[in-house]
Symmetry: C2
Subunit: 219 residues, 2 copies
DNA sequence: AGAATTTCTGAACTTAAAGTCAAAATGTTT
DNA sequence: AAACATTTTGACTTTAAGTTCAGAAATTCT
């Protein structure tokens, strides 16, 4: 039953996520991935062709989650701002909670060209989705922005950076991070006077600031 | 004449920047750095202890530039929004033009602990500077934000990501990128109705969109 | 149970890049 | 020019991590 083998492959990918959560990328080694699962590194090669193959699948996993956020947004949201908010919140939560966020830091250089193309096309799907939502919002008069593509970069880049500073034991939950960051980016686009929320929770200018342990140490 | 030796060290650091501009980080090798300058790699070890030492100095170079942006902002700007705008524009231009932006992607793991501490403390100086400006703006009633620290992350993260997608031959100049991104982030903080510019250039909601070659390929 | 298949091991192999160093080349001082 | 200091070379060593593989262990099939 290839099912069982697939489970094992899954477990391996998740163990990559676990390693990434704790240590840093520079030290993401085949050995660590194996250790995390209590298997030997030789055994990994029974499930994946090589390290780049493993990383490729992590990348795919990561985008799949984000693309689900995109399609969720399209169906659940009604206005462009609402949709974009949903997308960003889910995209961020995915990156933090599913743990594949760390993979975003890796270089795609060494991934087999065919694989890389496949991944890049998926990732571009997300980027285009974001841009489309922004454009729609501009057309609807709800958003304003100097350049759609760059606004997309400004938003997605900030999100991609999250794994650099996020710590599981840190002061923020993924729910808080996603809400606050999405809110911030939305406000960067919204034309003054527009709101995007369906309900009436509005952000008071002086909402309470969680008191943070001042551990300033992302790497 | 330590001066001459210092010049050479400088040249080496700049050659790192050059290599980073073209190839990717995963392939930043001592050999490449040497080639870029037409020297042998053995010779590099006459000027620097080891690779990590080189990378450390690149990191320092990078933060120095950003910290200069911070102090410039403090002296040149009058209100918090003005200051923050100046800081972001110069910070971004520094990252793109001085070419050490790419170094931000590297892991600090392998840098000697004492060096790492030194660098991190400098970098934190920048982060604290950004937060201070945001806080000042909030107190002055010009900014609103749910959480200062996270707003800082949202902004600085997006900026750190720039080297991933910026291409020297791309459709944007560093001046455009810095202006537009800084503007976007500022708007995310500004309380409706506030403007930060001293002059009267305002962003019309439908400002012309530069037509972009759609090369969607950052790595 | 015995055969066939799948899964796993661990030691050996390979590779790529970092780092070393004695000696050569170059430059400087007296 | 001789002595001294600085800089550069290139071949060599080391290191760390990825990869292979013959065979052992476990599992499934008949």
């Amino acid at each position: 039953m290839g099912d069982i083998k697939d489970n094992r492959r899954d477990a391996i990918l998740r163990s990559v996520a676990n390693v990434l959560r704790n240590s840093r990328l520079s030290s993401l080694t085949i050995q660590q991935i194996a250790d995390e699962l209590g298997m030997t590194k030789g055994n990994l090669y029974y499930y994946f062709k090589d390290k780049q193959d493993i990383l490729f699948h992590c990348h795919m996993r990561s985008t799949e989650i984000s693309l689900r956020a995109l399609s969720d947004a399209e169906t659940l949201g009604r206005t462009p701002p609402e949709k974009l908010h949903i997308l960003l919140v889910r995209h961020i939560r995915g990156i933090i909670d599913d743990g594949f966020g760390g993979i975003l830091q890796t270089d795609l250089d060494k991934i087999r060209p065919a694989h890389r193309k496949l991944y890049v096309s998926k990732r571009d799907e997300l980027e285009r989705g974001v841009r489309r939502l922004i454009e729609d919002g501009v057309k609807a008069g709800e958003f304003q922005c100097a350049n759609v593509k760059m606004a997309g970069f400004a938003i997605l880049g900030g999100i991609n950076w999250i794994p650099k500073w996020y710590r599981p034991n840190g002061p923020f939950t993924s729910a808080q991070i996603s809400e606050q960051m999405a809110g911030f980016y939305l406000r960067g686009l919204l034309v003054a006077g527009h709101e995007w929320r369906s309900d009436d929770r509005k952000l008071s200018p002086t909402s309470r600031q969680p008191d943070l342990a001042d551990t300033e140490t992302w790497r």
